[in-house]
Amino acid sequence: MTQALNVFQAVLLVLIAPLLRGVIGRWKARIQNRRGASVWRPYADLLKLFRKEDLVPTTASGLFRLAPVVLFAVTVAAAGFVPVLQGSALLGTTGDFILLVYLLALGRFFLVLGAMDGGSSFGGMGASREALVSTLAEAPLLLGLAAVAILARTASLAGIVQWTLRQDFFELSAVHALAFAALAFVAIAETGRIPVDNPATHLELTMIHEAMVLEYSGPSLALIEWASAIKLSLMAALLIAVFAPWGMATTATGASLAVATAAYLAKLAVVAAAVAVLESSVAKLRMYLVPDFLGVASALAILAVVFTALMR
């Protein structure tokens, strides 16, 4: 039963990922006084792309087609690490957050290579910028999670969630506040949202992710878009699981499962609203300010780790 629920929550994470994007887009439009597209629009986009043919540049090697598939595969595998509806996960009980972080890095490595295989300057430009952002985001991401892991005395995400479930909300310490701030910064950078990157722009001088995937089309592009949608909902699920897991099912009954699902969707809605408000109220940073942005995240993460030792 637990194992079935583990599979279900991983599939849920993969399938509702485009919906989260749609909801954020819709709410952003509302805040900006536009009507906005339907929340189901990302699904229609994916379907359309999957039906089209793949355009491959003459200069490209086999890696060009392989990269999106690898990215998608490792992102889906990473989705198996995060507890969503209960305090365990398909791979996240034995596997730990270090493996999760590095799986995402593997996918990004291949996407960067795929971008450089196109042979145009846009691919290289996006790849170079992505390399900058992801390199600087890795340390605060790992340190932020490490701070919580040290408190929980376990590195597996399921273990961290179970430990947090046993705590009262008001027992959570400054470590949690600092680590949450650090990870929220990193999540914005990793998923390419404003103020680090603008997912809606198509101006080559400002874009990071979009420049990187400029040469992709058809099913390959669909896989990349889907994978980045999964990454967004994965980061959201990670923040929810580590910092606010309350409401997750502790027994495998229908009622507690319904409560867990409702609680998760409610928390996801809060994340979506926060992203929509943030993206409507802040401007994108100049690229060379992004290291400062991530520097703040690193400082917060370092403080979080130092506090784990000081506050016991």
Binding site: D54, L91, A105, S120, L132, L142, L143
Partner: protein
């Protein structure tokens, strides 16, 4: 070993710059050897002989000051041979000029013997020591790791870049060794064993993937006749076997999962995390923070190898030679394929190496049993690999129609290879962020025409010396040369003065002998 390798470096000729580099190599190696031999001599008054058992028993009864002196000498001596910053100066000079198989041997085996020697003395003979030993090794590891990879990012000569990555990987190994020493000083023996296993496994892993990379560099120079990655491009299509093996080695050295580099970095991470549980406050703060350093090193290494692979093997060929590159001989391919296969095998099934290593470290950390969590990586990796491969296969099976077409050129007629991002351009953002480390000397000369608005000619020159050469070695060399100049006054060339020296020496000696 030093002399043999110096001979091997000179196989491909001994023109001026080469001879200079080999001279630096020999000099630093011998300085390292002197320190190592001094280490052994310090054992002599306390040990009946210089066999391992005698030295082990001698170390127990030594005064702490002598133990510290032995440790420091071993640290400097073997550190020079392993190439830790700032004693790494010879590494990026000697490796690029050696033939590729020799570089592979030097990086894969020779650096490792230095690590072995250090582990033998610090862990086995001395049986580890106070916490500051660990912090010293941790600091050396962190500095070597970060600076090694940053210097590598700035390089576009493939072999010098790989040489700097050896500095980085030695840094990662030293991070593990340092953590182990700190744990041992706190009495946390099973965590000390874990950190030591991490360091030893990384030593093995580095031998595998770095040899594969150096052999790949040899294949590139054989197939495309250059090692400047700015002149390469599109090699994966022309050298598919070399390209695939090189890609696997790139993933492995970047510490990405499913490849062996990740396993040892994961073990290092886990031992750093365990540091958070120590009762000692400095250790509980420093060790977990080192996880951040390791993450930074890993991220930078991934960026650097994305640059190497993307520029050299992907996209368009940037030169005539790269355009007509051909695959190398089957024997060369086979050697790379074997090493790459080993990288994948250890990456997915690490269990078969973890157990023997766990048994091996018991010799160094007495009675230590590896923590059970260590083997969770061996349980989870096959499943992760299975999941990833299954989805990749599924994705490849349901692929749709494909059409080969020109790269989009914003409506312009066509793109050529000069419009691609170069290695220098790729690394620019990172070099800008870490500008303090590089401090390049730039000379820009603009010759303007009569109007003063449109330059007639611009010349740009950028010289990159590592700041250690400028701020540490250069003053030392200058001081020695200045001292030598001053001492030259003794050498007058006048025979009477020399006779006076002999007479004075004789009198001093007699007086000395009389009153002793």
């Amino acid at each position: 070993m030093t002399l043999f390798s110096a001979g091997l470096i000179l196989i491909e000729g001994d023109a001026g710059q080469r001879r200079h580099n080999v001279f630096i190599y020999l000099l630093m190696m011998h300085a390292g050897t002197a320190a190592v031999i001094a280490t052994f001599f310090l054992f002599l008054p306390h040990a009946p002989g210089l066999d391992f058992a005698a030295m082990r028993t001698a170390a127990i009864s030594m005064p702490p000051g002598l133990r510290a002196a032995i440790f420091l000498l071993a640290f400097v001596g073997f550190g020079t041979k392993a190439g830790i910053v700032p004693l790494h100066l010879w590494l990026p000079k000697a490796h690029p000029i050696a033939p590729s198989p020799v570089s592979a041997l030097m990086s894969g085996v020779m650096l490792k013997t230095a690590v072995y020697g250090f582990v033998r003395i610090a862990f086995d003979f001395l049986g580890s020591g106070p916490a500051w030993w660990g912090y010293l090794v941790l600091a050396a590891g962190a500095v070597s790791g970060v600076l090694g990879v940053l210097y590598a990012i700035g390089e576009h000569d493939l072999k010098r870049l790989l040489a700097y990555h050896s500095v980085e990987n030695i840094g990662i190994i030293y991070l593990g060794l340092g953590a182990s020493l700190v744990f041992a000083s706190q009495g946390a023996s099973s965590w000390a064993a874990l950190a030591l296993v991490a360091a030893l496994l990384h030593t093995i892993n580095h031998a595998l993937f770095k040899s594969a990379l150096f052999l790949g560099a040899g294949a590139i120079s054989d197939g495309a006749h250059t090692l400047d990655i700015e002149e390469l491009g599109g090699l994966l299509k022309r050298m598919p076997v070399t390209g695939t093996a090189f890609l696997i080695a790139c993933c492995a050295i970047s510490g990405l999962p499913l490849f062996n580099g990740f396993i040892s970095e994961w073990l290092t991470f886990r031992s750093f995390l365990a540091g958070g549980t120590l009762a000692d406050l400095p250790a509980a703060i420093v060790l977990p923070l080192m996880a951040g350093t390791l993450a930074l090193i890993g991220g930078l290494a991934a960026a650097c190898f994305a640059k190497v692979y993307g520029v050299a093997f992907l996209g368009r060929a940037r030169s005539e030679e790269a355009e007509h590159a051909r695959e190398v001989a089957p024997a060369m391919q086979a050697s790379m394929v074997v090493l790459a296969t080993a990288c994948v095998a250890i990456g997915i099934l690490p269990g078969f190496l973890l157990r023997p290593l766990g048994a091996a470290v018991q010799e160094f950390v007495k009675g230590a049993v590896l923590p059970v969590e260590t083997f969770s990586i061996a349980r989870i990796m096959p499943w992760v690999a299975l999941a990833v491969v299954a989805i990749i296969v599924l994705g490849r099976v349901i692929r749709g129609a494909t059409r080969v077409t020109r790269t989009w050129a914003c409506g312009m007629p066509a793109l050529d290879s000069r419009m691609q991002y170069t290695s220098t351009a790729f690394s620019k953002p990172l070099r800008k962020v870490f500008a303090r480390v590089y401090q390049p000397e730039r000379h820009v000369e603009v010759v303007s025409d009569t109007s003063g608005y449109f330059p007639a000619a611009i010349s740009y020159q950028s010289v990159r010396t590592t700041s250690f050469e400028r701020s540490l070695y250069r003053p030392a060399v200058d001081a020695i040369v200045a001292a030598a100049h001053r001492l030259r006054r003794l050498q007058t060339g006048n025979i009477q003065i020399y006779l006076l020296y002999i007479f004075l020496a004789l009198v001093t000696l007699l007086v000395f002998m009389r009153f002793l």
